[in-house]
């Protein structure tokens, strides 16, 4: 057999091109992480604040100057704000997402495939500014009127907007997970005289649980990282919320609304970078959690548990 001319040159060229593209992506991720650590740690190394102050103090008044540590960088209000809004958003969104996923797969697959899924996919594509603006225009006054509040900007409003935004993420991952449950499980359960609801509750959902958890964490990660829409409706006050109907700030909303007003390298600027680093670490934790859960699910599926 005669070798084609230049065959090996092409082989190596493509191999290298693909390898380089792949490696560049890994390098970029590492560089972003390193840059965040470099920028974010300056609050502690350069201005001498403690990590304890940053995480647990509620006093946030950093100076927009290079000189020194007479300001304070406590981000506890924002951390609590983020956790509260995202937790609430998840509580609102998960039941709807699960119901939608079950409806699309188990109850009405035909209608689900044709209309429901495309509708959910459209949700994903809507830019967050549109969610935020709609929230500001529709939900803020609505929340104010329904709950009889002086202002409609609140943790609850932000959670509603976030719930709407993460609904499609959770729904589509949960739908895939439920679709992935082998139909032989359903046959077996039907063959023993189960009703449809018994099959969903006792067979399908447990078998899909690790995939569903992955969807929920993915939704949580998206909610945690969302800045714009939240900043528009949460009210941006820098105090702990008294209840879910009072306003506060989140890590992302503070960064988004203040990053343009600080000079690079000042105490204020560094404090914002520290928050960005914190967000980065949190999202890494979420990703580890997803891997952990899916590895566990796989182990269960192979019967090694």
């Amino acid at each position: 057999m005669q070798l084609q001319k230049g065959m090996f040159r092409k082989e190596y060229f493509w191999k290298w091109l693909i390898s380089v593209c792949g490696i560049i992506m890994i390098v970029i991720t590492i560089v972003i992480g390193a840059f965040l650590i470099y920028k974010g740690s300056y609050t502690f190394t350069g201005f001498g604040h403690s990590i304890g102050e940053f995480l647990f103090s509620a006093k946030f008044s950093p100076n927009d100057s290079y000189s020194g540590s007479n300001g304070s960088v406590g981000a506890a209000v924002f951390i609590v704000g983020s956790v509260l809004t995202c937790g609430l958003a998840l509580l609102i969104s998960t039941p709807f997402s699960l119901a939608a996923a079950i409806f699309m797969t188990e109850i009405s697959p035909k209608f689900g495939n044709k209309f429901f899924q495309p509708a959910v996919e459209i949700f994903v594509g809507i830019p967050s500014i549109v969610y935020g603006w709609t929230g500001l225009t529709v939900l803020v006054p609505a929340v104010r009127d329904v709950f009889n509040l002086p202002y409609g900007n609140s943790v609850f409003t932000a959670a509603l907007v976030l719930a709407l935004m993460i609904f499609p993420s959770i729904t589509s991952v949960a739908t895939d997970a439920i679709r992935g449950v082998p139909s032989s499980y359903r046959d077996a359960a039907y063959g023993m005289g189960s009703t449809r609801w018994q099959i969903i509750k006792n067979v399908v959902l447990p078998a899909a649980s690790s995939g569903i958890m992955t969807g929920i964490i993915l939704g949580l990660a998206r909610a945690f990282g969302e800045a714009l829409a939240v900043a528009m409706v949460i009210g941006k006050t820098r105090v702990f919320p008294k209840n879910i109907f009072s306003s506060t700030s989140t890590l992302t909303s503070v960064i988004a609304s203040n990053m343009g007003n600080t000079f690079d390298g000042t105490e204020y600027n560094s404090a914002l970078w520290s928050m960005a680093l914190l967000l980065f670490i949190i999202s890494l934790l979420f990703i580890f959690l997803i891997h952990f859960i899916s590895a566990k699910g796989e182990k269960k599926a192979n019967g090694k548990d």
Binding site: P182, S184, G191, M192, N202
Partner: protein
């Protein structure tokens, strides 16, 4: 019901359509209690379809239409009985072992649980009895709480039989239960089937004619949706009345 007759199923003029395709053509068969009836025939001949009419699993396939009647203990399955309740009386074992991704215990306890049995002592009892009946208790008693998916294919299939027995059915339908298994597992399952005959009526679809000859009392030969011949297994294999049956069992097609 007045158990005077020995007939479990009386199938009269059964026609079944998948949309416009006729999968069963006026099938008339009587299946007796505590007998093993095997259904043989080439692929796509309707034997599995027929099997699934007996517990109305075909209801789940869209576009299925059933004509004629199937009487179980004299009661019409399709007109006078609820499909869910019927399936608790007529259990099914599938071609591929399909245990749930749960522990051995939870697999067997699934059926009793959906019927509302919650007491641990009662469930323990049913699980042990069902696994013993399926001749797999000794192999599994030390790993009741481990995942059923870690078992071998043969063990999984016997577990599935135990799971079916736990529902306390009167009839067990088996759809090529050994076709995915090795010869040793197959032998174990065949022995088990013969043993189960004492308490259950068993109907088994098989591709394997030796298997039909080994285990069954009666055999029905299906071809193109028709029950061509039905009779005592020994007679059907030694002296087939129909030319088509003879051609099939002597290996001229199939």
């Amino acid at each position: 019901m007045g158990d005077t007759s020995n007939i479990k199923f009386k199938i009269q003029d059964l026609n079944l359509f998948y949309n416009s395709f006729q999968a069963l053509k006026s099938v008339n068969i009587e299946i007796e209690k505590n007998e093993i009836t095997s259904l043989i025939g080439p692929s796509g001949c309707g034997k599995s379809t027929f099997l699934k009419t007996l517990n109305r699993m075909n209801d789940l396939v869209e576009g299925t239409k059933v004509e004629g009647s199937i009487l179980m203990d004299g009661i019409d399955l399709y007109r006078e009985m609820d499909a869910i309740l019927l399936r608790r009386r007529v259990g099914m074992v599938f071609q591929q072992p399909n245990p749930f991704p749960k522990s051995v215990y939870d697999n067997v306890a699934y059926g009793p649980r959906i019927q509302g049995i919650k007491k641990k002592i009662e469930l323990d009892d049913i699980v042990e009895r069902s696994l013993k009946q399926a001749a797999i208790w000794d192999e599994l008693k030390d790993r009741l709480y481990k995942s059923a998916l870690g078992l071998s294919g043969g063990q999984q299939q016997r577990l599935c039989i135990a799971r079916t027995l736990a529902v306390k059915p009167e009839v067990i339908l088996m759809d090529e239960p050994t076709s995915a298994l090795d010869p040793i597992s197959t032998t174990k399952i065949e022995d088990l089937i013969i043993k189960l005959k004492e308490h259950y009526t068993i109907i088994i679809v098989t591709h394997n004619m030796q298997q039909a000859a080994r285990v069954s009392d009666k055999t029905a030969f299906f071809l193109l949706g028709e029950a061509v011949e039905f009779g005592v297994t020994k007679e059907l294999f030694s002296m087939p009345r129909d030319k088509r049956t003879e051609d099939y069992i002597t290996g001229r097609f199939g």
